[in-house]
Subunit: 191 residues, 2 copies
């Protein structure tokens, strides 16, 4: 997605070979017009897949996922990282390790929001090691739903998540797949 | 906001006099079309206030705040409850107690995303005791920004937050102010 890549080159910052800062428009400050375009692009790419729910993981994926759900005309479900005292019903959980935060959390879903007939598109801001995406997929499959694909706003294609997901048979669409980065350098994969 | 009130009456559930479950359309499963209408309504109510930033607190406020920011044509800033290892720059923090989760967290903002000339609208899903809203306001005022108002999708008007904010001089707009509730009963304040 050219608009997004240009924005990453303009306002993103590669701190080193692993860390890409995009917090001025994607995950701390958020540009809602860019998110709307991101949502339209995911909706276009998954237009023929009969998506019935968009699922994301709190919290940086919520803005792009909400715009995607709006474009597709379906509901969004937010998988929770911490369980509120009032979320007490029949829930599904799976353990996920976050490399960024170096800790494990329980990804949680209230079972009644996903049904076996659901066709789910998983949207997140970043795809790197794939821990969060595989965690989401485990929960969705526990609920009996079909995962039609994973959409990442940015994928670090040099980390194993994208390849592991594809090897496991999942379709992955990354709007800005980063091939390589380093201080002052951000290089994308060709479309 | 009539559309929202009707949805709360239809799909919300008062578990007791304090707890209103709206997780089928607002904070676990999210209806993005309703959020778009919520965003348009906040934008209409604050149209004359020269808002330059919409600010919310992760994570249930993000969807309505993103739609509000989109309608107003401004950026959104998400105040963080947990600090990522890569969020290392000049930050502002304040301690907030969550009654729902019965724990304290450090609300965090990277200083460069709010400037003294900013006119900020704070959006959240719920307003109850006002702890989160006052925490957000403390951070925003530390950054030197002007808080033009607080918008809550739902306010529990029988809890002290709304009144305390107004007494402190802040404009509060609640799209669905709940006057009273109990098992099977939800009653709104008149507009």
């Amino acid at each position: 997605m050219e608009l997004l890549k240009q924005r990453i080159l303009k306002d993103g910052k590669a701190l080193n070979e692993q860390v890409l800062m995009v917090d001025s428009f994607l995950n701390h400050q958020v540009d809602p017009r860019l998110m709307q375009e991101v949502g339209r692009e995911f909706a276009r790419r998954f237009a023929g897949d009969g998506v019935t729910k968009v699922v994301t993981i709190e919290s940086s994926g919520i803005a792009p996922a909400a715009m995607t759900a709006l474009s597709l005309g379906v509901d969004m479900v937010i998988l929770k990282k911490s369980v509120s005292s009032i979320l007490c019903e029949d829930i599904l959980q799976t353990e996920v390790f976050s490399f960024t935060k170096q800790k494990t959390y329980q990804l949680t879903l209230k079972r009644r929001f996903l049904a076996p007939e659901d066709r789910v598109l998983v949207i997140d801001d970043f795809l790197a090691n794939g821990e969060a995406a595989f965690g989401a997929i485990r929960l969705l499959e526990q609920a009996g739903a079909l995962v039609v694909g994973v959409g990442a706003v940015i994928a670090k294609a040099f980390q194993p998540g994208m390849e592991k997901l594809r090897e496991a048979g999942y379709r992955v669409e990354a709007l800005a797949p980063v091939k390589r980065m380093g201080e002052g350098l951000i290089e994308f994969l060709e479309d």
